[in-house]
Amino acid sequence: MSEDIAVGIDLGTSYSCVAVAVDGKPQVIPNEWGEHTHASVVSFLDDGHVLVGNDAKKNIITNAEHTVYSAKRLIGRFYFSDEVKKAQAVMPYGIVEGPNNSVRIQVRDRTLAIPEISALVLKEMKAIAETHLGREVKKAVVTCPAYFNDNQRQATKDAGRIAGLEVLRIINEPTAAALAYGFGKDISQKICVYDLGGGTFDVSILEIGKDVFEVLSTAGDTYLGGDDFDDRIMAWLADDFLKAHGLDLRQNKFCLQMLKEAGERAKIEVGRDGVAEISVPGICQSPEGQVLDLTARLQQDQFNRMVMDLVQRTFKVCDEALQSARLTAADVDAVILVGGPTRLPIIRTSVRHYFQKDPLTGVDPDQVVALGAAIQGAALLSTSAAEYGQASYLLDVTPLSLRVGTVGGFSEKIIDKNTPIPIEKSKTFTTSRDGQDRVKIRVYQGESSKVDGCELLGEFEFTGFRIGYRGEVQIQVTFEIDSNGIVNVAATDLETGQKTSTTISLSSGLSEQDLQRAIDDNAGMELAARQP
């Protein structure tokens, strides 16, 4: 029996990728058809099988209602959030409300939580790795956008567990990319990772000093990605079509899917060839029964104008990251581009303008994150690290300020954003009534002093401390952010030093029971073999 192995998985909004480090050399694992990236699409077939990957993506049109894509946009979100409302309007699959304001997906005769969908993607990655390596894979390092909050990280971790993987660590995508770039190079540089994915945008500024990778700051936008570029093309096509034929393609979910596919293809073509010919024969039927085609030509200039404001938005985020790191664009020694949309010439030119230097070539924007995760996976498994020292150390930060709710809808900052993790901080609370036997606090993440502008992580209730007059009992609450960026809360009675019991009374996550049920369900779901 050879020793343990851990893979690195880049769980993306649109595409996922799996890699492994063998003898210190990371490499991407292809599937049986030689594909290196796999669409994060899950299609539920009528025979009860589940199809995941690039084949499932073809089903977005033919099996639209039972094919789930871009689930990462919904992970760890509450049902009432704007992102969920937006997804409901455009997604052909059913998005319904679950217990505790959570989000559920309705496909065929079952309802699934978002982590269960992501788990199926992870299960496929696991299967690809197992087929290629010819052995069982039980452990993994999974990446998530740096700007993900605690709910989203927790949900990603749950997804791993449901898929039967022990998630050794959740690491940030830009950090993983930097690790893959600087690993074993013995350089001292300040670098910027510009990570524009399918659904999220992240910027991290890192200082690499030999074997230490210190994240100086990170900033991002979890509502900005390549999908938004597609949307602009779709809107343009649909408006033109509406003018020409008086029919709105966006009203029909089937037409909308065809439109979306055309938009995505046009974006890739215009980026590669400078011009895109769009042709979707028979996109819809007029009320008179006439079959209509969609044809258009998209020029580079026109596309650039359409998305200029989106590109500008990414640089506002860059400004923020540089400011937090107390650097200017000129201080950055190298820029790494991550994510498929960074292939677009408009992104490359704008990045060159902003940083006054060419982005690094020779880094594959689709694979670099998985490679970094694989390096970290191998490092976390090595027992020799403790004795001989490890080859690299990631010093990451928390992307968002941690806050507690106070009176009147305001919040108070406990841990600043861009603080190195793991970290802990304590705050003392006192009782406000005589004989009070429980204290409730609400924990938030975000940059607004109003709780409405922040994301609620959960409500914690402490009981089992001494009972006394108001103001007499002091409870020290310790907030800890661990290496995964996940928040833990514990409390002790300050005078007696006794730990109080903590219960989470409000949370977007899955309960232990739900999790167990999901693990069993997932084990029962069979991945469909691909049709030749």
């Binding site: 050794l168 660590r169 000093g209 074997d211 230490v212 210190e214 970290q376 490092a379 976390l380 498994l381 090595s382 027992t383 690290a385 403790a386 004795e387 020292g389 490890q390 150390y393 990631l394 010093l395 600043d416 603080t419 190195p420 993790i421 793991p422 970290i423 802990e424 901080k425 705050k427 800890e480 290496s483």
Partner: protein
């Protein structure tokens, strides 16, 4: 893992609450930003939890976790120029035993100080700031009389502002220099 390192970890974890942040990072008191960063990297290489991720003992991991969280805490405070100054004053002062960890009270004090400094520099009242800004523009253009007028107006709103007074004195000295010397009175 050798026994010596284990003992080292146990002793460090035991005395953690008696150490100040300089002690945690094994630095001389009063070390500067560059030293702090170098020390942080050095200590990270030794105590980063990733190094011990594959170690069986949960107890050891807990100790390492405690040490490393404190290292991060120390770094967060000492890397910040303002906080470092304040912290150094705290731990070298009489209240040392209570001030080993930088708490929210100190955090608030630092931001308060920061605010006060800014206010002194640019004025505390809207009108004071407005006139002071005008004065700064006139000064740049070397229109001394106009600058003097603006500063006097600013001082009407904030009579006690030391920065304004200092500027006014400087402007008046300039004016004195440019004033035509000699007897100019009409006979």
């Amino acid at each position: 893992m050798d026994a010596q390192f284990l003992i080292e970890i146990e002793t460090l974890a035991a005395v953690l609450d008696q150490l100040d942040y300089y002690g945690v990072l094994k630095l001389q008191q009063g070390a500067g930003a560059a030293d702090v960063k170098a020390a942080y990297y050095r200590e990270s290489r030794a105590y980063h939890p990733d190094r011990f991720a594959a170690v069986e003992s949960a107890e050891l991991k807990e100790l390492i976790g405690r040490i490393y969280r404190r290292i991060n805490e120390a770094y967060t405070v000492l890397r910040d120029d303002q906080k470092r100054v304040r912290y150094l004053a705290d731990v070298t002062g009489p209240d040392r035993a209570r001030k080993l960890r930088f708490t929210e009270a100190e955090e608030a004090a630092v931001s308060q100080e920061q605010k006060k400094k800014l206010e002194e520099q640019f004025g505390q009242t809207p009108n004071g700031r407005k006139f002071y800004a005008t004065a700064a523009l006139e000064l740049k253009a070397e229109r001394w009389e106009a600058a003097e007028r603006a500063l006097k107006s600013a001082l009407m709103y904030e009579p006690g502002n030391p920065k304004f007074k200092e500027q006014l004195a400087a402007v008046q000295a300039e004016l004195e220099k440019t004033r035509v010397k000699g007897d100019y009175r009409i006979k």
